[in-house]
């Protein structure tokens, strides 16, 4: 059973189709990536899920029931643009927003203390939001979003504005949220984080779903039986052993180490190749090249635009 489902969501803005029958199924306790180039419709979809805008057609379900306005109390939403009072002090603001979400003052203070430790921002309690940088504000916003421990969390571009150290902290915490039973949907351009975090993704472009499924399935689907072999020895060793089943794609030498990319043809096995090489050179490594999400993203989006 899915925790959250969107069914054929359609949204039109001034005659242009922002979302064209987009559907997604988000299993419980998982991390779901919502990908797409700029202007693809990610934020529109997120705003529809949060009931900030209404879809023209389509349905939303939470726990198999139709999403009602009361349900959004159980959704934690991190908007792409910061939603904080600029003139208010950090601590006061965090307590206020937490209490609006139904936490008691004491509970809010306890939890905030914990999260301020995690993000190493204890000293900020009495600073005004406007004194903080974008990334610093982002941390506050993130804490405020998850503080009341909602079942479903939706982050719009959570990593934008973060340095690598803070990105790492945030990733760790997102994974921890899943461990603790939460379900996370997030939109991003950062494909590295998708590979690290996501169980499932939906890639939308120009309002339409062009790729959907688990990360593993998608990457397997995009792999092209290409292997990389690193070895020490004669760079020309391949010439005699190449036969109709192997194609040499590229080759490079760095010091004594040679690296070659080889594609298997006709379902040839890597073992055959290794068997031919094993007595001739000193093999350092041999591994299958699985396309990165970055490559998949670019190929999928480019493919989508050439189709049209």
């Amino acid at each position: 059973m899915y925790l959250f489902q969107a069914e054929e969501i359609v949204k039109q803005y001034n005659g242009t189709l922002a979302l064209d029958k987009v559907s997604m199924n988000v299993p419980g306790q998982s991390i779901y990536g919502l990908l797409g180039p700029n202007g693809a419709g990610k934020t529109t979809l997120i705003r529809i899920i949060n009931r900030i805008t209404a879809p023209d057609s389509g349905r939303l379900f939470l726990n198999g029931r139709k999403l009602e306005s009361e349900d959004i109390y159980h959704i934690g939403y991190l908007p792409e643009e910061r939603g904080l009072y600029k003139k208010m002090k950090v601590g006061e603001q965090a307590v206020y927003l937490a209490r609006l979400k139904g936490l008691s003052r004491q509970e809010a203070l306890t939890r905030l203390k914990y999260w301020f430790e995690v993000f190493e921002i204890r000293g900020w309690w009495n600073k005004k939001i406007e004194e903080l940088s974008k990334g610093m504000q982002q941390k506050i916003q993130f804490i405020v979003t998850i503080l009341h421990e909602p079942k479903l969390m939706i982050f719009d571009e959570p990593f934008s504005g973060f340095d690598p150290i803070n990105t790492a902290i945030l990733k760790k915490e997102v994974l921890a949220l899943r461990e603790n039973g939460a379900t996370v949907i997030f939109s991003t351009h950062d494909m590295g984080s998708v590979e690290e975090l996501c169980d499932h993704i939906t890639l939308i472009d120009k309002g339409r779903t062009i790729l959907q499924g688990t990360i593993n399935d998608i990457r397997s689907a995009y792999k092209s039986d290409t292997y990389e072999i690193r070895f020490m020895g004669d760079i020309h060793v391949f010439k005699p052993v190449l036969n109709a089943n192997f194609e040499l794609l590229e080759q490079s030498v760095s010091g004594e180490t040679c690296t070659s990319k080889i594609r298997m043809l006709h379902h040839a096995q890597g073992n055959e190749l290794l068997a031919m090489l094993i007595n001739k050179v000193h093999i350092l490594s041999f591994n299958e090249l699985i396309p990165s999400m970055n490559d998949i993203f670019i190929r999928a989006v480019k493919g989508n635009s050439t189709e049209k």
Binding site: I52, P79, Q141
Partner: protein
């Protein structure tokens, strides 16, 4: 704690802590008290020292005619020409030179007071009254009437109009129109100011929440209506606090200043000079008339009585009601405008329908102060968009109870109506971006159901 009270609390505390609120709370009473105290104080300081006036009397008629007062002294100089006196004026130490030409009895413009300062009205009146009286008595005496002095004394009558307001149950109340006008004007103007200042704060607050996307975060915890009403109520409390601080500290400041600056009396020195004039204005003679001075005191007394007779409980009570009513009515409209636009510069097109009735109210209020019972005053104190300002100005003059009740009822009903309407606009507008909104669009939002 309920969510709406949390919102009210935040709106209130963040605003009350602001530097601008604190500055206004300190500056306001200082300014108000200053407006009451400083003119009186200045005139006192200015006239602390005795003004000596040199009199050059070419007509030789007025020696010792102009009575001296505590601060006005006259030196009648002989054998000195005006020209030399003017030349030595700077060194002479005189406040001014009074020149009386010899044709004074038939040319009223033949008296000139030279001074390097601007002589005040009291001084001028003092001199001209004394001379007029003297010339009059001189002229009368040429008719050779028997017992002239006695006749003149017997025909002199002072009229001091006292206004007494009849209340419905036949009780009489002494009132003074001047005081009622001042109180009415101040009340109406204060309401107008409060509506504008705090209404605009509501609008700016809504725009802040909208442009900073705070609404998107908060909307999952509270309903838009709660958010709007919380803001409106919180700011209303800020307004009330400001009003309370202003009244209490103005009252304190004025009391303290009075005790320090005018220990013996509340009269200004200009009034003192005038009082002395009135006291001594019988004939050209210098003898003050005891009854007349009593009559004069009576006038001052009447004004004070009238001030006491304005029922300040009723005034403050109705001020609070009309402030809240008017504010709530307009604040919801301000909130709707804030929700409909993307930034403050876009508010203009929607501000017009809000500002026009308010400014109209000020104009009607000015006319209502002059004729509180006129049909214009009556109708505009019932129309809810102007009633809080106009009715407030009329109340010190006394308004029939049914009119006040009707006006209040209409105000409350309209406030409920505008709030309902504003809530609809707010709910849709607050989450909408990048779209230039027209009036037609707003009408559509109001018709959305749910």
């Amino acid at each position: 704690m309920s969510k709406i009270s949390l919102i009210i609390q935040r709106e209130y505390i963040t605003r009350v802590r602001k530097r601008s609120f604190i500055i206004m709370s300190v500056l306001g009473p200082v300014l108000f008290a200053g407006m009451m105290i400083v003119p009186a104080w200045l005139s006192q300081v200015e006239e602390m020292d005795v003004k000596r006036i040199a009199v050059v009397d070419s007509s030789n008629m007025f020696r010792n005619v102009i009575p001296e007062t505590e601060i006005l002294k006259f030196d009648y100089l002989e054998n000195v020409s005006l020209e030399t006196l003017k030349k030595t004026y700077a060194q002479s130490g005189y406040y001014g030179i009074l020149y009386i030409s010899h044709i004074v009895t038939y040319d009223p413009n033949s008296v000139i007071l030279y001074s390097d300062k601007q002589p005040n009205l009291a001084t001028k009146l003092h001199i001209s009254n004394a001379m007029e009286e003297y010339i009059k008595s001189l002229k009368l005496s040429t008719y050779d009437i028997k017992d002239l002095d006695m006749i003149l004394r017997s025909i002199k009558t002072d009229i001091n109009i006292r206004t007494i307001k009849l209340s419905e149950n036949g009780r009489e109340k002494e009132s003074s129109t001047g005081i009622a006008m001042a109180v009415g004007y101040a009340g109406g103007l204060l309401i107008y100011m409060f509506i504008f200042i705090f209404g605009a704060q509501v609008m700016r607050g809504v725009i802040e929440e909208k442009t900073n996307r705070i609404v998107e975060v908060v909307i999952s915890s509270v309903r838009p209506f709660q958010l709007m009403m919380g803001k409106i109520t919180g700011i209303a409390l800020v307004g009330l606090s400001q009003f309370l601080i202003w009244t209490v500290s103005t009252f304190l400041l004025v009391s303290i200043a009075k005790a320090v600056l005018f220990p013996e009396l509340n009269l200004t020195s200009t009034e003192k000079v005038l009082t002395q004039d009135i006291m001594s204005s019988g004939q050209a003679a210098v003898s003050p008339e005891p009854e007349e001075s009593a009559a004069n005191m009576q006038e001052v007394y009447t004004a004070l009585e009238a001030l006491k007779n304005i029922d300040f409980l009723v005034m403050i009570g109705s001020f609070l009601f009309y402030f809240l009513g008017g504010y709530l009515l307009y604040a919801s409209l301000f909130a709707a405008v804030g929700a409909a636009v993307d930034n403050e510069t876009d508010t203009q097109q929607f501000m017009l329908p809000i500002t026009v009735p308010l400014i109209l109210a000020i104009f009607v209020m000015i006319s209502a102060i002059n004729s509180p019972g006129s049909p214009v005053s009556f109708w505009f104190s019932l129309i809810p968009f102007t009633s809080s300002v106009v009715m407030m100005a009329r109340i010190p003059f006394g308004v029939p109870v049914w009119e006040v009740v009707l006006s209040m009822a209409i105000l409350v009903l309209t406030f409920l109506g505008t709030t309902w309407m504003a809530a609809k606009i707010y709910r849709t507008g607050i989450l909408m971006y990048g779209k230039k909104v027209s009036y037609r669009e707003l009408a559509k939002w109001i018709r959305y159901k749910g």
